[in-house]
């Protein structure tokens, strides 16, 4: 039979009230055959990580527009580590200044996909990163 689809949780953290971008990404991943858990707006790092653990996702995709990425992403990374989610991939998306990308990668983000990333790129990167990950 067909292999299990890639599971992704798409979360919006922070205060900004737009999730059109996150929804578009969710739909693209769905259309690429993935199972996408969508959790809506204004999630806290705690909620996002708890949900990702319960949903046993391969990829946690966090989208931010609020500029708070340098406080929220470290928090998420720390919570993931505490929860023992070492094999879960964290992908950060949204509006991130170029100069902050290296810092996010250093924190442990598997990739940083900026707001203008075309859908095909996102799908491709998710597939590539999941494939490259050590088998569980």
């Amino acid at each position: 039979m067909t292999p299990d689809p890639i599971r992704v949780l798409v979360a919006k953290v922070g205060l900004d009230g737009h999730d059109r971008g996150a929804k578009v990404v969710a739909r693209c991943l769905r259309d690429a055959g993935m199972d996408v858990v969508y959790t809506g707006l204004h999630r806290t790092p705690e909620e996002v990580v708890a949900a990702a653990i319960q949903e046993d996702v391969d990829v946690l995709g966090v989208s931010l527009l609020s500029g708070a990425h340098l406080t929220l992403i470290p928090k998420i990374v720390e919570l993931m580590r505490e929860a023992g989610a070492g094999d879960m991939l964290l992908i950060v998306g949204g509006v991130i200044p170029d100069e902050d990308v290296p810092a996010l990668r250093a924190l442990g983000a598997a990739d940083v996909l900026l707001q203008d990333s075309p859908p095909e790129t996102i799908v491709h990167r998710v597939r590539e990163l999941v494939a490259a990950r050590q088998p569980r």
Partner: protein
């Protein structure tokens, strides 16, 4: 975790929530989970959403209504896609129910999509079925057509904060009195509730407790368990047959037979029986997955 026969059964009350899209099943699941938590029970939620028939992928959005439960260690929510399984409910859901039961959750809520065959699957997987409808006659006629009303152990008319709820409640009650029932049979209550405002939810929880008690005293619980086991085994058989017969390239070896049907040398029935026989041979000669 435990394989066939050896797994511990801890006695979770497994409750199915079903009804038209958007009727408020997820919101009700959240509200029921909160009542159960207040009553000291732990809660597992299995939320099933449909897979896209085009890509096979799915957007699983039920959690949006339950986000605040994520931080309660006494609640565990797992979303699932139907993944095109026959009848809609993924077979993984049955396994997830087992796992949550074995993990000791007191209440397991299973939310499913759509109306029709899916609901029959929910019934076979659960002890008690809640059918959620909303004010307005249209939905109820839809539900009637799909034969969903018959499988309800508890009816909830949700969004009772909206106009027309009283009428829908009355209509539903009137319809149900037309269904003949034995004197000692369970009479499904029809309850109004507002899941969003968390009104009327205690009564729904009480009705579910009442139904479970009825299942126990009447011996129906044992019968339902039997039905569940039978249904699950049959479903696995179906899947195995489908996998063996219809997996990639499976029909290649049988092309010649299919050609004979095309030339009318063989009836479709005889051909199907021949394919099934060959599939059974193949099935015997390989490992059977649990």
């Amino acid at each position: 975790m435990g394989g066939a026969g050896g797994r511990p059964r801890r006695g979770a009350h497994v409750v199915g929530l079903t009804g038209a899209p958007g009727s408020g099943k997820s919101t009700l699941a959240r509200a029921l989970a909160r009542v159960a938590r207040a009553r000291g029970r732990t809660v597992g939620v299995i939320a099933v959403d449909p897979s896209s028939p085009f890509s096979g992928g799915a957007i699983l959005g039920d959690r949006i209504r339950m986000n605040d439960l994520a931080l309660d260690p006494g609640v565990f929510i797992r979303s699932m896609a139907t993944r095109g399984a026959l009848g809609g409910l993924c077979r993984a859901a049955a396994d997830a129910v087992d796992l949550m039961d074995a993990a000791g959750f007191g209440l397991v809520l299973v939310e499913t999509v759509g109306v029709g065959q899916d609901e029959v699957d929910v019934m076979r997987l659960t002890h008690s079925v809640v059918v959620v409808s909303v004010p307005g006659l249209g939905d109820d006629i839809q539900a009637l057509k799909a034969g969903v009303l018959e499988i309800a152990d508890v009816h909830v008319v949700n969004k009772a904060d909206r106009e027309g709820a009283d009428r829908t409640l009355a209509e539903l009650r009137a319809m149900l009195t037309l269904v003949p029932a034995a004197a000692d049979a369970w009479m499904p209550p029809v309850l109004g509730a507002s899941a969003a405002r968390e009104e009327g939810i205690e009564a729904v929880a009480d009705a579910l407790d009442g139904h479970l008690a009825h299942l126990k005293t009447s011996g129906e619980l044992e019968r339902r368990r039997r039905t569940m086991v039978t249904a699950r085994v049959l479903r696995i058989v179906q899947d195995l047959v489908a996998e063996t017969l219809l997996g990639p390239g499976a029909l290649d070896a049988d092309r010649a037979q299919l050609e004979r049907v095309l030339r009318r040398e063989l009836t479709p029935h005889a051909c199907a029986r021949a394919l099934l026989g060959r599939a059974a041979e193949r099935g015997r000669s390989r490992d059977v997955r649990p």
